[in-house]
Symmetry: D2
Subunit: 319 residues, 4 copies
Amino acid sequence: MPTPEPCHDIAHLGHVEMLTDKPDESLNFFVNVLGLTESGRDKESVYLRGWDDYEFHTLKLTASDTTGVAHIGYRAASLEALERRVAAIEAMGAGIGWDNGDLGHGPAYRFKDPDGHVFEIYYETNRYRAPEGERPALKNQAQRYHGRGVCARRIDHLNLLAQDVSAIADFMPRALGSRITERIVMDDGTQAGCWFTVNNKSYDIAYTRDHTSTRGRFHHVTYAVDSREDVLRAADIFLENGVFIETGPHKHAVQQTFFLYVYEPAGNRVEVANAGARLILAPDWEPVVWTEAERRKGQAWGLKTIESFHTHGTPPAGE
Amino acid sequence: MPTPEPCHDIAHLGHVEMLTDKPDESLNFFVNVLGLTESGRDKESVYLRGWDDYEFHTLKLTASDTTGVAHIGYRAASLEALERRVAAIEAMGAGIGWDNGDLGHGPAYRFKDPDGHVFEIYYETNRYRAPEGERPALKNQAQRYHGRGVCARRIDHLNLLAQDVSAIADFMPRALGSRITERIVMDDGTQAGCWFTVNNKSYDIAYTRDHTSTRGRFHHVTYAVDSREDVLRAADIFLENGVFIETGPHKHAVQQTFFLYVYEPAGNRVEVANAGARLILAPDWEPVVWTEAERRKGQAWGLKTIESFHTHGTPPAGE
Amino acid sequence: MPTPEPCHDIAHLGHVEMLTDKPDESLNFFVNVLGLTESGRDKESVYLRGWDDYEFHTLKLTASDTTGVAHIGYRAASLEALERRVAAIEAMGAGIGWDNGDLGHGPAYRFKDPDGHVFEIYYETNRYRAPEGERPALKNQAQRYHGRGVCARRIDHLNLLAQDVSAIADFMPRALGSRITERIVMDDGTQAGCWFTVNNKSYDIAYTRDHTSTRGRFHHVTYAVDSREDVLRAADIFLENGVFIETGPHKHAVQQTFFLYVYEPAGNRVEVANAGARLILAPDWEPVVWTEAERRKGQAWGLKTIESFHTHGTPPAGE
Amino acid sequence: MPTPEPCHDIAHLGHVEMLTDKPDESLNFFVNVLGLTESGRDKESVYLRGWDDYEFHTLKLTASDTTGVAHIGYRAASLEALERRVAAIEAMGAGIGWDNGDLGHGPAYRFKDPDGHVFEIYYETNRYRAPEGERPALKNQAQRYHGRGVCARRIDHLNLLAQDVSAIADFMPRALGSRITERIVMDDGTQAGCWFTVNNKSYDIAYTRDHTSTRGRFHHVTYAVDSREDVLRAADIFLENGVFIETGPHKHAVQQTFFLYVYEPAGNRVEVANAGARLILAPDWEPVVWTEAERRKGQAWGLKTIESFHTHGTPPAGE
């Protein structure tokens, strides 16, 4: 019997389009506090990225009358890989169709996950070219380390809420070729959370159960910094800038990420995190399964999971 | 024209077999100072690994009358992927043949690089199962964080010396499907160094030019720790244990690794390093090319490259 | 009118004598987990110290049928300074009398604070002389950085419980010449906590209100490490060793210490902490006063103060 | 015989007046790269301070036709302590006389060290009062952690060059009541360096031998950050801003400071450093003496001391 091989059609998480009903305050947060850099604007959107994100943008911040996530983009490994994924997704009946792309990338194929979140996959991308004043001293990084605010390095992952996490756990490996690296299985057999990756990062997307009956909600987007010390420093910067810190810094038991959660001014949750040298290198990694009792223990060093972490998502849903 | 896709037949660097003519002193260094854990022994070898290495071993330390590297192992992504690589390597005329494996893994196909270093690729592996007393508090890591010595987390990469780096740069992508992420090209057009990866790490092997006429020599093996602070702590531990520190801690310009080089008691160079949150996620990453003038500037923050770094390899070659 | 001058008769906190009713387990914790080094034993006591504590001991661990603190020692700046303090304390009517000292130091004058905790002050001390095998590579530190467990550097401070913190706030400046650096004043005017120092550290002792009616209880003793990263590493080491983590790591609002609280096996609370580069250098530092409302906000980054922090002390008091 | 007691008449190093012949470039460096905050200006000077310096200024940057140090200020512990020091210095014949002070402090008594550097001691100081926009979230720090550039916390120490270090070693304890904590004694018996402190920091001033025949020269001023990680981050910020990095980051053997040396635009050397939790608490600390052979070993982890460290001072002296 042939051994299964990880699929590599999708190279990595590309970007998240976040909605905000306080666009000026949100933009100020992302640029001056989190330390992202603006690379362009069109219509209602500002394109932003961390200093070592190689693409034009990893966050598309769009003014709206609500909050939450508009769409999530993943970059394919090649045009052929893109075509393979499109064929698979169409066969699954989940496809929406092609979009012309935006300032950041070329044609993108859109589809929906079982909870209604909109995704797109694309190959052609607009690489970030640092303008004068943003060129790095070392030619192997995308932009200079500017040192502004938290100075987030790159997009890391996002977390979405879903009514049925098991349906997502079935969907993602078929749609994106994702591998499941960790999951939480409750005593009743339902899944409370599931973590997926398309590459060697331990996850690029996670889903947790939405305890409301709303669909398509957003839990958080995460930017990576280089060290736990950077996360601690971020906490001081958030504190001094009046940003609401929900919980952290602390270490997750699941995935062992060193985390810090805040709400940007419109209420979308943002995480700053560091994973140390942890990578998923085994091609046949067996998903780690956490029980309800294990999760009840709280985070790695004993911090109880804060209640709002289970309830707050965007847009609000009568929480 | 089809866009090229990264090959993923090889999942990751697996292990290095290092030779030592001071086996007891070397073993003490790797276990009590670097903080590796012994998982087994046979004949002249002791099998060792970092606390989060998932395989049985990542370092096979073999008593010998000399020093240097005996062979390097890479793990394939599947049995089919292994077969594809074997076919490719045989077609290149570089193959040696099958080996029955050892305590750490199943059948391995051996071959030589153009400089004569012996490699092997394998799929079947012997996963590390932590014995009582070494079980981790968190089930998603291979072994408990024991805190002994430098407490290295996992094997990261190795560096070999070669007469003709360009020949290697041609060979590796064809043999292992490696991608070149960075290289140094001298004013005369020759390559002084080349960095390769088979996954999202920025490199798993590097080659630099051997300025002696010897072939098959070893430059260093590197273990990863979680932070730059861990590298600094390692420096204190090496200092207190009388380990020869060659250079560092400092930050490389090439690959930006935060490094620290020491010699284990038999003279083999060992590096402790951290790469922060840096990963190569772009499927179409363009190799970064450093010029002779750029390299002459030294390391990232200006430290001059120490002369022995260009000359010391193992086994010695009349340096 | 003459400006007040800080008193410098007392140089620094010297040691704490802790009682344990699980002497073997406690000793294992302090040596193998916290990383202190044993320097001697007599009768029911083991003398312990951090690797850069210059005196013979900073923790005297004494087997007993209960837990808590037996006495606290401070070292005077000179014999004359010691005499001045003895005279002052005798005039206050708080004195107990002279003690011959122990393995760690010479004659000590004992007294009680208003809550009944026993203190002693001494000048003659037995400097730690590192035996072969513990000699440091750098001659300006007391012992080698051995790297065992948390590898705590030096004693930092202790915290005691008291019925009447205001009485202590009146007593300490007169008895030891301490300065008050921070305090918590409740809406009803009573003091909930008070932090004292005899030198440039921001505090060497703190008192918080005992909500039981018991006297002379102990809250915690703190050892300093060099960085916040060391505190995080300590959390992993405690986790792997099954040590109960009460709360943290997090940053205190009061004094801004980066803290981690655990219970040693007998139930005495132990803190590992780092204060960064913070020092009290102003000779006329004005005590920082925190209100009840400010304290209700929790710790610096918003962590709520855990309930047991207000209730758990040693020996137990029907908590 | 009475035991000697440390003198505490002088509380701490207060400020350094630095001369620059490139005032705009220097000011940009100190504010935007090192991250100091301007608190005032008069005539040719700008007053600057780190975010946790409690006084009005710790660096007075004065436009001049040369570089180097104009004067160094120490704050006395009280008016009486100031008078005692003035009397002692006048008796030594080193006094210059009273100065009216400047924006930062009240009357100051000026004197010269044996090499001709000008010092002043003062008690009345102008405490920094954070204006709107600079108020800290936590009331026990002087100013908000603004996160700009290196974001240096406080002045730490300075280093001066002198023809005769032994003369300084004799002078400072008598003039300021300083204690000598470490020194370098060459094989010929001369002192190559001497480190002094007036409080529990391991040093607030150091002198090293000037190998030219010029007097009154300046070697460097040092600002403290909270961690070694902050020093490493500073190196990246200096690199990106084109600041000349002379040497480091590395760990000194003497005093064990984790250091990084750069030249500000006018050529004055500036250090960013961290000392971890190291303090000099012993009232009878015995100076550590380093031999010529020991110093030849280089820094703690083996880095050779860079030649310019022995030659470059300001103003230039035909180096």
